[in-house]
């Protein structure tokens, strides 16, 4: 079995590598937390790539039920078929719709299963998946069959910490908290994505970026993904590095700020800070 290492596109710290390899070796889910935009979801894609497994993504919404990941019994279409006299109606298996977990369990080869943003769902959601993730099997009541995993999938679960997860669930996972990268790591990450970015532009942009992150009270601090978007914009616009240098992030809005400040309160906050700074300057 291959071991996970950071790739050219994804800079993984040693601790992350150890956590992933432990989860893969022990076939337990890996729970990944961290600020939004620090590459939690991308991690699963990179693991799949590194191990050479296909990736099955299950994105969780507030309305997602655990059962939907296993299977759904489409009673309504069966009822409709019954009314229309369709012969399919006699076999209940025709109306069992497979979920993502089923797909992952029945796959011909081991897969990476991403359960994205598990905290979005109802508070009981993780509890409902305990047995399924532990034994990697479940029972289909309608057809009285047990679906068991042919190969235990590598399960990556991400959470944005909107809800606390139950202890029993946590016990079964390995856990990794993606810390916000420091400047040095950030440079490596940017270089992994834009290998031929201008050095001076990168330096100035990182200055502005880390200065913005220092402003407390921001509703959403810009993270790695925002920085990458912003740098891309700056490169497309061919912004000179001086344009960034002149702007002290605490006093004026940086050029193309829309990529980094995502809500109007934050933009507003910056405008107010700029106003105060100008008034103080007079």
């Amino acid at each position: 079995m291959g071991r996970f290492k950071g790739t050219e596109k994804y800079v993984a710290s040693r601790e992350l590598e150890v956590a992933v390899n432990a989860a893969v070796a022990l076939q337990r889910p890996l729970l990944v937390k961290g600020e939004p935009g620090t590459g939690k979801t991308v991690l699963a894609q990179e693991i799949a790539k590194a191990l050479g497994y296909p990736l099955i993504e299950w994105h969780i919404k507030s309305t997602t039920k655990a059962q939907q990941g296993l299977y759904e019994y489409d009673a309504v279409s069966r009822l409709r078929d019954g009314q229309l006299g369709d012969p399919r109606v006699h076999d209940i298996a025709n109306y069992i719709v497979r979920g993502k977990l089923w797909d992952a369990f029945e796959a011909e080869q081991p897969v990476v299963l991403l359960i994205d943003e598990i905290d979005k769902a109802d508070i009981e959601f993780p509890n409902d998946l305990l047995l399924e993730l532990d034994r990697m099997q479940f029972f289909v009541y309608e057809t009285r069959k047990t679906v068991a995993a042919r190969h235990r999938p590598v399960v990556i679960i991400t959470s944005n910490n909107e809800k606390e997860l139950p202890d029993a669930f946590l016990r079964r996972c390995f856990f990794h908290y993606i810390r916000f990268p420091d400047r040095e790591t950030m440079e490596r990450i940017v270089e992994a994505h834009y290998p031929d970015i201008r050095r001076d532009l990168l330096r100035e942009a990182l200055n502005v970026f880390f200065e913005i992150r220092e402003v407390n009270e921001l509703k959403k601090k810009p993270a790695t993904s925002e920085l990458l978007d912003w740098l891309k914009l700056l490169t497309i616009e061919d912004m000179p590095a001086e344009a960034l240098r002149s702007s002290d992030a605490k006093t004026t809005l940086p050029p193309l700020y829309g990529a980094m400040l995502k809500n109007e309160q934050d933009v507003h906050l910056f405008e107010r800070l700029a106003f105060l700074a100008r008034r103080r300057g007079q």
Binding site: R14, A22, A25, L26, T63, C173, N216, E217
Partner: protein, 392 residues
């Protein structure tokens, strides 16, 4: 094998269980960690810690338990010739430094330390990793000697970085604590949840469907209704500083408990009585201040207002303009209180002071009146009554 480690973790409040311990042992057996200390650190952290709030505690315990165990095993310390040591010391220390050493008195002790260092260094080299400088134990560094001369802690090897990781305690800010003991508070606050039907239609409306299908002559006509959702929004105002210092801990507990229970929870601080300004972070009060008017504009009347405070102060602080102890307030505290209660129709005051003492403090009586008697003790029973009142 690592039983003392697990026990120390549990003692420090990291809820690691036997299951996680076994997982760690299995991972070690599988060879996930290889044979380096920092890999073991990363692995044990991934296996034993499940909440970023506990990472800091884990780092502390790890540092304590594994201090001094960093060198690889199987290498017995060897005796170093004293002459060689002295020569080395002369080479690495300048004459002035030697003088200083003598001035400090005990040259032999220093030599002893140098000897130990060198032994360790030797062992480490054979183990294939580099020199490790454990912070604060080098007498050379501590007394201002040139550490580069002695080559202590100069190399930034991987090994040393790992030590720094748990010595740095990067996760200190995430340790919110108190969440464990607040389980019973959670139960009481759960009552605050108000179930309201909002959002997308996702559930089958059974009576509606039956009715519509019947009207449709028997062919199916589905009707959906939105699912039940927890739609409670809570604005928490906490009295901080002064006479409240005794109660800060219990307030924090309440806050941690409350956070996961509501759709929205906003919290602000004030001092003694509500005036024209509130703030977000007590440490950075000046920067995070907001006008109370803005608060009233931002949060609609559908928010529940919960004030936590001991309401113990001089009556002037409530009824007199300019009565505040720390600034000149144009309007009296009671004006602001009634403004807030008029805006937030569902409001309550939680008071950590024992109710049997309430009648001895005049200001509690005044605020009790201003809150229309919706003041409750900060106890489980009080919380339940408050929750029932707010959920109506």
């Amino acid at each position: 094998m690592f039983a003392p480690f697990i026990l120390a973790l549990r003692a420090a409040g990291v809820p690691a269980s036997i299951m996680e311990y076994l997982a760690l042992l299995r991972a070690m057996k599988e060879g996930v960690a290889g044979f380096s200390v920092d890999d073991f650190y990363h692995l044990s952290r991934a296996a034993l810690v499940k909440d970023e709030r506990h990472l800091d505690r884990f780092d502390r315990v790890f540092g304590e338990i594994f201090k001094g165990l960093e060198s690889p095993q199987g290498e017995a310390p060897r005796e170093l010739p004293v002459e060689w040591l002295r020569k080395l010391a002369e080479r690495v220390l300048t004459p002035e430094e030697m003088e200083q050493v003598k001035a400090l008195g005990d040259f032999d002790t220093l030599m002893e330390t140098l000897k130990k260092r060198l032994e360790e260094q030797k062992g480490r080299h054979q183990g294939g990793s580099k020199w490790i400088g454990t912070a604060g134990t080098s007498p050379f560094g501590a007394h201002g000697y040139n550490p580069e001369g002695v080559r202590i802690g100069q190399e930034s090897s991987r090994h040393r970085r790992a030590v720094k990781v748990w010595d740095q305690r990067t996760f200190r800010d995430l340790d919110e604590d108190e969440a464990l003991s607040s389980r019973n508070m959670k139960v009481a606050l759960r009552r605050l949840r108000r179930f309201a039907r909002t959002g997308a239609a996702t559930e089958l409306d059974l009576p509606g469907t039956i009715g519509a299908t019947a009207r449709n002559g028997g062919s199916l006509d589905l009707h959906m209704v939105p699912e039940r959702h927890n739609a409670v929004k809570v604005l928490l105002l906490m009295d901080i500083g002064g006479s409240m210092d005794d109660h800060i801990r219990i307030c924090q507990e309440l806050f941690t408990a409350a956070r996961s229970e509501f759709k929205h929870l906003e919290f602000w601080y004030f001092h003694n009585c509500l005036y024209e300004r509130v703030w977000r972070t007590n440490r950075r009060r000046r920067e995070t201040e907001r006008p109370t008017m803005e608060l009233l504009r931002t949060y609609g009347p559908d928010w529940r207002l919960v004030i936590v405070g001991d309401a113990t102060m001089s009556p002037y602080e409530i009824i007199q303009p300019g009565g505040s102890v720390e600034h000149w307030n144009e309007e009296a505290g009671q004006v602001w209180m009634s403004r807030a209660t008029r805006h937030f129709r569902k409001a309550a005051w939680l008071n950590p002071v024992d109710p049997s003492h309430w009648r001895y403090t005049q200001s509690i009586g005044i605020l009790q009146r201003l809150m229309d008697n919706r003041m409750y003790p900060l106890t489980l029973a009080g919380l339940e009554t408050m929750a029932r009142e707010l959920a109506r």
